[in-house]
């Protein structure tokens, strides 16, 4: 029975067989961190403080995140190890619902924390720990060496949480922004490295397609 359950979970794990899920996640985190850094350090009259620049930047990121993984899948993954189309409920609704709930909870928590003038570097590192747990559930369960990545993410998040508030605050206008930026940089870099290793291993262990009927 356990073997059947494990078979049922294999298609989900297949999405990141080439590391594309992590590469996309890493790109997104670094993109957000760069935007936060630009908004914190650009002069007040800079375009980075205006809505049009934000909309264009976010739009470009969405386009790259949508079409980039798709291009890699179509030109590299599907010809090598096969095509999978996920069920609409798995591909659309579940991530949207989880994302909406997580986003709403974070926003409410942030709003309450700012209003009460809490030190928000610790919650930023808690968000990092939650991400690390989510990474462990989604990626590390199927590939053993990725538990090392989970440890790096978890310890890095804890380290950010214990950094002095003024040191973190020097990165941005407010300490919570600095902590969030550091968390994004940590996650973006680690996910890009981990995704890159997965992609390299995938290319090494799979063969380029032979031109014949499948």
């Amino acid at each position: 029975m356990d073997q059947i359950e494990s078979l049922l979970n294999r298609p989900k794990a297949y999405y990141n067989i080439d590391g594309v899920g992590e590469l996309a996640g890493g790109f997104m985190c670094l993109g957000v961190a760069l935007l936060m850094w630009l908004q914190a350090h650009a002069p007040k009259e800079s375009v980075w403080h205006g809505m049009p620049a934000f909309v264009i930047y976010a739009g470009m990121m969405c386009l790259i995140l949508h079409y980039g993984p798709r291009a890699i899948k179509q030109h590299i993954t599907y010809p090598r190890t096969g095509f999978v189309q996920y069920r609409a409920s798995d591909a659309r609704w579940r991530p949207m619902i989880i994302g909406a709930v997580a986003g709403a909870a974070t926003t409410v928590g942030l709003a309450i924390g700012l209003r009460r003038h809490w030190n928000l570097t610790t919650p930023a590192s808690l968000i990092g720990l939650l991400f690390a747990a989510s990474y462990a559930y989604n990626f590390a369960r199927t590939v053993r060496w990725k538990w090392a990545v989970v440890w790096v993410l978890a310890l890095g998040s804890v380290a950010i949480g214990v950094l002095p508030e003024d040191l973190v605050g020097a990165l941005a206008n407010r300490s919570w922004q600095g902590a969030l930026m550091l968390t994004m940089i940590l996650f973006g870099t680690v996910l890009l490295v981990s995704g890159g290793i997965s992609f390299g291993l995938y290319l090494r262990h799979t063969q380029a397609p032979v031109r014949e009927a499948q």
Partner: protein, 98 residues
């Protein structure tokens, strides 16, 4: 006859064969996939996988469609509604029997 043994005897034999069980379980978790994916995940050779798919198609559990990805022919496979129902029943019965 013992109820558990009777349940085992009632298991769907089309699905119960290990090779076909792998195929059906993999297809159950997705909307559709191609032949290459099933071959990669099950580790079966083309002939064996084809024969299992033919048996599942005969039973009305799998829908096979041929298309092209660029210039390369592609065989797409999808579990039918009957296939999904049969697999759900199979899981329920197996769980009850164990």
């Amino acid at each position: 006859m013992n109820r558990q043994i009777q349940t085992i005897a009632e298991l769907d034999r089309v699905i119960h064969e290990p090779g076909r069980l792998m195929v059906v379980a993999l297809l159950f978790a997705v909307d559709r996939s191609d032949f290459l994916y099933l071959q990669h995940e099950t580790g079966m050779n083309k002939g064996t996988l084809s024969s299992h798919l033919s048996r599942l198609e005969e039973a009305g559990y799998v829908e096979v469609s041929k298309t092209y990805r660029g210039k390369v022919p592609q065989t797409l496979l999808r579990l039918t509604a009957a296939g999904r129902k049969a697999f759900e029943q199979y899981r329920r019965k197996l769980k009850g029997a164990l």
